[in-house]
């Protein structure tokens, strides 16, 4: 391939053109991330003008080892992993099934694609409001359905395990459309000749899926898995909108928010602890990094093995 920008000084032009993007990345993404790492070693409150003291590893020690609070933090960490596993597994599987269904050449598939994708374009607050109304325990639609069976529930305000399960369900409902769209895009890149050849060879539907669709969907599978894993590890907004700060329901992302902005004690005078929240953020970042990198490594090897 020839080099379009010539020689001498002009060869720097591509790098110069990259510069704004790089600077923007440093300012918007990398800068704040680095600042968070530094903050995690301080007692910063996040209040402009407040003194900031260097306290070394104290925030990490407190988060991981101090009293019962550290046990609660580790429980939140465990809950985050459960949330991630449940959301990824179900959202990925359902997204794939729905994509296969709406990728058929049948009348009305566009309507179903729109319907399945619609929750994605709603904001978290709207999603939360809709489900709060649906799950209203005093005569809401879900309560009425349950009453027909002679049962009742407090739904989001009741047992923490039930509230947690509802957040998993709503997270999947809210984001499955994205997973579906990525799979649809992947399905549409598979040449129809491949399917025709498989059918001529006598493959049944399952064999076509296993030996043609699934291997050729590898790039979409990888993208979806990574997006689902990282997205669910970092989730917190739905917890805020649907459940609030309740024992037995917090995931790490929400714990960070609640700690950083003084919403953990039930008192309106709670202190702001952004240094401590920054340490929790770094722990979450390391978790995402380790899981994300490991999954990416496995997926890349798989992709190389299948697609060469």
């Amino acid at each position: 391939m020839s080099y379009h920008f010539g020689r001498g000084k002009s060869k720097w032009i591509p790098y110069l053109m990259l510069l704004p993007g790089l600077l923007f990345y440093f300012l918007i993404a990398l800068g704040p991330s680095m600042a968070t790492a530094v903050y995690s070693f301080t007692d910063a409150t996040g209040i402009k003008g407040a003194p900031i003291r260097w306290i070394g590893l104290d925030n990490y020690r407190e988060f991981l080892f101090m009293g019962r609070a550290s046990v609660d933090n580790l429980a939140a960490l465990q809950r985050t992993l459960i949330f991630c596993a449940a959301v990824t597994l179900i959202q990925f599987t359902m997204g794939l099934i729905v994509a296969l269904l709406v990728n058929q050449k049948l009348r009305g598939t566009n309507i179903f694609r729109t319907l399945y994708f619609m929750p994605v374009i709603l904001g978290v607050v709207i999603q939360g409001l809709m489900w709060s109304l649906f799950l209203y325990p005093l005569g809401g639609p879900a309560a009425k359905l349950l009453s027909l069976l002679g049962m009742r529930s407090e739904f989001l305000g009741g047992q923490p395990a039930e509230a947690f399960a509802w957040v998993i369900f709503i997270q999947i409902w809210a984001n499955m459309g994205t997973t579906m769209m990525i799979f649809i895009a992947g399905l549409q890149t598979i040449p129809s000749e491949m399917y025709e050849a498989a059918r001529i060879d006598g493959a049944n539907s399952w064999q076509v899926f296993r030996n043609v669709t699934w291997p050729l969907l590898t790039p979409s599978v990888n993208t979806n898995l990574l997006l689902n894993i990282i997205g669910s590890l970092q989730a917190w907004q739905l917890f805020l909108v649907l459940v609030g700060y309740r024992n037995g329901t917090q995931v790490l992302g929400y714990l960070i928010y609640a700690t950083g902005f003084g919403q953990t004690s039930g008192s309106v005078s709670s202190s702001f602890r952004q240094g401590y929240a920054a340490a929790a953020s770094i722990i979450l970042f390391l978790l995402v990094l380790v899981i994300g990198m490991s999954v990416q490594y496995i997926l890349q090897r798989r992709e190389a093995r299948i697609l060469g």
């Binding site: 002009s10 032009i13 053109m17 209040i47 609660d72 305000g157 005078s269």
Partner: protein
Amino acid sequence: MSKKMFSFLSLLVAFAILLAACSSPAATGSQTEPAAAAGGDKVTLRVLVHQNPPMVAFMETFNQKFQEKHPNITVDMSVVNANDLSTVSQTRLSANDIDVLDIFGFANGAQPYMKMVDSPNWQQLIEAGLLMDLTGQDFLKNYDENAIKDAGSYNGKVYSINLGRVIYSGIYYNKQLFEENKIAVPTTWPELAAACETFKANNIPCMTAGGKDGWPIFVGAYGLIGAMYPDQAALVEGLWNGTIKWNDAKSLEMWTKMQVYARDMMEEGASGIAGDAAPGRFASGAVAMFPGGSWYAPAIEAAQPAFDWGYIPFPGSDTAADNQYWFGKYDQGWAIASNTPNKDASVLYLKEFSDPANYQAFVDAVGFIPTQPTAKLNTKIGADIAPFLGNFRVGYEQYWIAPKGAGQFANPWASYFKPFGTDDDPKVLADKVQADLQAGLDAVK
């Protein structure tokens, strides 16, 4: 295009993007207004209040009158949920995006017996220099000296004027339902329990609360804690120094009663009712009682003006004499951002609000117990509060700061019990709560 021209254009684009990225939004927005604050120049006064429907309604009327009187000032009032007030205050103060802000009465100050505790957020804001020193302002004279000292001062300087005390240890009751079911107004715990049993037997839910917001469930039971431990400051000190434990015999009695409150007294589905909607549900006549703060009274009146209700201290003790206290806190106050470009307009706003006539209209609308000595307790709830007002005590949660390392159950919250939480054994829960607290006390030794 020549290579030189291409290089030049690339550089230009790079610098333009760099400059756009580096420019501060604050430099282009409200920062242009400082010079316009005084005199007859146009001023937009940014005011922040927390969601409390009668207060918001009053403020809208007050703002309108204020603007008519001062046509050069436009009041831009934002309303946020009470849970979010501290977060929004902090971010908007840091961004120089607020002039006058609603701030709760100063509470949760660190006491000498507390170790390794963080300062409460109001103290953090003052220490960061974000709240204006109001010491010496004329309008302070309109307020009770003790209220200014207890709820708005720090290190000898005044940073907030507190607008009223509220009670959160009372129960609203539906007079008509009590009469129809021939139930006397309860003055002891056994009477309260018996009343609930009768109502439930007649298919009337006994109590409701705005459980969706979380805190109304446990705040409703703060009266129960108060009946057991009338000296709430001593309770907090006792918990810190170990002379009182959440699993001792007295506390166990409290937990046992809390379980009855959460499981048997509260109506099914209360966890889904929003805090703002609970007064309306009570006013609809569907439930017999509503444990809640005095600030709900105007909302109940607004929902059903003809509805006949009363307000009694939570009868948490078996002895009537122990159930004659009110527990509460200093509620809303006003503070001014120290960096406000609209200082004159902000001070003027507080001055006019503090005018005795305006203040009387405020307490009449909101139902606060006044902090201006000349103001009268004219409201309907005022008549019910007055007999026990001499027994007003600042409540537990205004003193309590949990030690670092304490677990998430280290609080006396009724919402731990089923159906709102997972616990159904008072003894097991009491041990768990004390263990969570003790872990924190041990960690900061």
